[in-house]
Symmetry: C2
Subunit: 190 residues, 2 copies
């Protein structure tokens, strides 16, 4: 019954969630053990008990985020839902992040910084994008040129998140998502 996802004690999960939020707001370098400790009500040295090194903490945050997002998206099943409905799920995740929480995607942030990150963290970011692109490509498998279309769709959502947050115009997510869906629909889907 157990998945391959690591199961952490409650306090470690609090730390992972605090770290996720802080990374998504300011990037990996902007997160400190002291801040995380304050977030979860312990001292910095105690955070090191749960995650001895920052690079390992970062990688754990990404893997947990991957699992959560893929679980929210669900399994791709084109006999149960259309291409458009699958894509809508993805748009909904990112729209909610921007509009409710003012946050961009964790992978987007770490991808931007990836050239300067510890190897364990940039490798986790790469894994995240690969898993997500696989999901999108499968969801678009009825479309012509599904692989490129998947990159286009994910790139558009990631880049638009940055614009929406920077310009403080969360409605951009909806406008571009609508545009994107029209593109997909007109692009060879049965």
């Amino acid at each position: 019954m157990k998945e391959d996802a690591a199961d952490y004690p409650a306090k470690a999960i609090e730390i992972l969630e605090a770290a996720e939020i802080r990374i998504r707001r300011g990037g990996f370098e902007a997160v400190s053990y002291r801040d995380l400790a304050a977030d979860v009500g312990i001292k910095a040295a105690s955070v090191h008990y749960h995650f001895p090194q920052k690079a390992l903490l970062g990688a754990a945050v990404v893997d947990r985020y991957s699992d959560k997002l893929l679980a929210t998206l669900g399994r791709v099943d084109l006999t149960q839902a259309t291409v458009e409905e699958h894509l809508q799920r993805l748009c909904n995740c990112y729209r909610a992040a921007v509009q409710n929480d003012g946050m961009i995607c964790l992978g987007c942030m770490l991808g931007a910084e990836s050239q300067d990150l510890p190897d364990a963290v940039s490798a986790a970011a790469r894994r995240f994008f690969k898993r997500l692109l696989d999901w999108i490509e499968l969801a678009l498998s009825d479309c012509a040129d599904a692989a490129t279309l998947a990159v286009h769709a994910l790139g558009t959502l990631q880049g638009t998140m940055i614009l929406a947050v920077t310009l403080k115009r969360p409605e951009l997510m909806d406008e571009v998502a609508d545009h994107l869906k029209r593109l997909i629909s007109g692009s060879g889907a049965a």
Copy 2:
């Protein structure tokens, strides 16, 4: 003859260019005065002579980058070039950055981090996006829904840069740019 762009002494320009590269690689927090000093062959205290505060240095880097990019794009003149040709100029800039230098756009990086940046820097990032979106919207002014299309186009390029750099697949820039141009052409351009 003078533009409103500040003109800096030669060493200050060296610093600005070193800072631009470092920010684009690792983000604003990843840049230190000591590193910049080493880049340009002076000491950290001397960098403070040119740019007393890091936030002001950051804003200056962004404004200089804005001016450079807009100058490269040139004035929009739809009597001299088509919509597609104008858009191609923009794609070329970003493709070159990713494929030759392995770097994403400065605005993309700072936009991602914008929630945690000093106000002067996040404001500069916002200015950058507004100027660039104005240029794109003007270039697309013959298209239906030019404003949304401009956000879509810029978002797609920015997000794809992140994917291309993180996945170490620079060719993604070309593939998605082609896709994007087809979208624009089919989207109501005269």
